[in-house]
Symmetry: C2
Subunit: 112 residues, 2 copies
């Protein structure tokens, strides 16, 4: 069991400090509607979601790319539970760095 | 004088209803740093600004393009005073349609 846990830790991808991310990078991540959809789903969900749980209108490999961009932009945190890659919105950190931005995106969800 | 006024009216370009603008279009406008700079300057200014008043790191024709994109995205209102093209941020309308978005941009200004 200890070995499995170790392997899981090794597979945690790198995450940037949100305070080092520019609004430019965040906007480039969020200008894509599929990536906004992922953020909205994570915002609305009561718990972290695995990649497969979020219904997206793109192929699995494209979805993986979008999750990657969001992670690099400091918007989500990814980790493994067994073989599932889980996703968490870095809500508090993003709210602190970019006040108002996430609520503007959620407003889109309510509007649609 | 009446003729001059009439001519001025004819030169007012079309402005979309902000409620018909999608967040997608607004984000595509705001993902450009020069356009965000224009919005920030208009946000901070106590009055409407002519195009030439805003110091931008681009050519005049490129600046004209950026103002055009912002107008089409419902973010600014343009009108003429004599030969000066004036720009006003459509702040109340944008705040109503996209709550939190402008304040997130202004936060960038404060951060920089």
């Amino acid at each position: 069991m200890a070995t499995v846990k170790q392997a899981g830790r090794e597979r945690v991808p790198p995450h940037p400090d949100v305070r080092t991310i520019s609004l430019q990078q965040v906007l480039e991540a969020l200008v894509d509607p599929v990536r906004r959809l992922i953020v909205s789903e994570l915002y609305a969900a009561p718990e972290d979601l695995s990649c497969g749980t979020i219904d997206l209108p793109v192929s699995k490999s494209t979805a993986t790319h979008h999750f990657h961009v969001l992670r690099e932009a400091g918007l989500i945190r990814q980790y493994y539970v067994g073989t599932s890659r889980m996703n968490a919105l870095r809500r508090d950190e993003v709210d602190e760095a970019f006040p108002g931005l996430l609520s503007a995106l959620v407003a889109e969800r309510d509007r649609a």
